[in-house]
């Protein structure tokens, strides 16, 4: 039976993990390679590396790191941030990424999804979207959730899938950072609209939030989070045991 996936997300800026990470036994580690190895061995099903660097110098650092990360982990690696053209796909795939996540780049030029899917396959193209409720509808935001595009988020997801996106990451701006659980209604709506894997993001504050996610949103495939894993608030092995005990299929 296909397992539900648990995915830690690491933000990278200028070659270092933003804010650092504090696990039991690992204090304030900012080396992305060391952290990736840690997660590889601690039950993560996949890793997401998000490059929030703006400078081209930082971007070169990022690709150097990717190569080192890709050669030290044996689980799938998704890379996002600064993906605006097919050449950006090439740049990160060459370094060992398995999937590439597009967000603002696809909003600026929706044809990017289809062009990348035709070259690398749909399984390689992840559409990441930041969504917030505005006047009773789900609205797509760009530029890291700062700009309201005026686009209906659910229609955008359907369009992305028809262009060739093979997976969707839905980050709810409404629940992000609040740590009171995933956005169940928003995820339920998305899962009823698309037939590709959906990754839930934004709002995880405890292991119980993942149990609620997988029990309430039937179609969701994975839960993504950052700080609760990085700061050791939730241990992935323990989380998976809890999920398994709750009847959720997971890889243990």
């Amino acid at each position: 039976m296909l397992a539900k996936r648990i995915i830690p997300c690491l933000d990278i800026k200028d070659g270092r993990v933003v804010k650092g990470v504090n696990f039991a036994g690992l204090k304030d580690v900012r080396d992305p390679v060391e952290l990736a190895s840690f997660y590889n061995g601690s039950g993560a099903d996949e890793l997401v590396f998000y490059d929030i660097t703006a400078s081209s110098e930082g971007r070169r650092l990022f690709t150097d790191i990717l190569e080192r990360v890709a050669s030290s982990i044996f689980i799938p690696l998704t890379v996002g941030g600064g993906i605006n053209d097919v050449s950006d796909f090439e740049r990160v795939l060459k370094c060992g990424a398995d999937k590439v996540s597009v967000n603002s780049g696809a909003i600026a030029d929706p044809s990017l999804i289809g062009r990348a899917a035709r070259i690398y396959g749909s399984q390689c193209v992840v559409l990441s979207m930041d969504v917030k409720r505005v006047g009773g509808e789900y609205r797509l935001f760009s530029r890291g959730g700062r700009v309201d595009t005026g686009i209906d988020a659910m229609q955008w997801a359907e369009q992305g899938v028809s262009e060739g996106a093979g997976e969707i990451v839905l980050n709810s701006i409404d629940t992000d950072g609040v740590k009171r659980g995933f956005d169940i209604p928003m995820l339920t709506e998305l899962c009823s609209r698309v037939k590709v894997p959906v990754i839930a993001s934004g709002g995880a504050g405890s292991a119980q939030d993942f149990v609620e996610l997988f029990n309430k949103v039937e179609g969701v495939d994975a839960g993504l989070a950052a700080s609760i894993f990085h700061y050791g608030e939730v241990d992935i092995h323990e989380l998976k045991r809890l999920l398994s005990d709750s009847g959720v299929p997971v890889r243990i």
């Binding site: 039976m1 296909l2 397992a3 996936r5 590889n40 099903d45 190569e67 890709a70 050669s71 030290s72 044996f74 689980i75 799938p76 795939l93 370094c95 060992g96 398995d98 396959g121 749909s122 399984q123 093979g166 997976e167 037939k195 590709v196 894997p197 495939d221 994975a222 890889r251």
Partner: protein, 202 residues
Amino acid sequence: MIGIVDYGVGNLYSLGSSLSALSLEHTVSGDCDVLSACDRIILPGVGAFADASKKLNEAGLDKFLLQQAADGKPLMGICLGMQLLFDVSYEFGTYKGLGLISGSVCPLLGDLPGGLKVPHMGWNSLNIMRDDSLLKYVKQGEYMYFVHSFYAKDCDADVIATTHYGIPVTAVVRRGNVMGAQFHPEKSGAAGLAILKAFSEI
């Protein structure tokens, strides 16, 4: 020495680093002389069957691999590399494979019960059908990482493990010295590495 066949298809980075992590000597090459000197061969592959098959044939690697298999050298196909071992694929047309394992490669869509997503993407557990040295380090029910939209069927005699995705899906096949995995051992954590290790001992 393990030879990884390089024919311009897919990302060979992780496969090489997996073998390095196991301290297994390997070389990535599309040159028949180099591969011929290896004592076992891995045929990787990501993408479309037709394109991969064409590239293999253009490089003369199809005849080479058939000869190596006939000579008894251990040969393992991974993902699309496994599918290439079969007689025929119906991925967007009808394309001839290497014919080292009897069976055909067909779309999951159409055979799956309604509601299941294609591609079959993520971690799924193995149902090991019979003992085999390739799976000697793998437990029944172990999870492996799959990403595929087509699957091998009509090959029951050579299937050593399946995975369940609405229907039993061929996961590991073996006919003598020729074997294949539909999933990615190089992306399947410690369990996947254990399969590569077992292959190096066959």
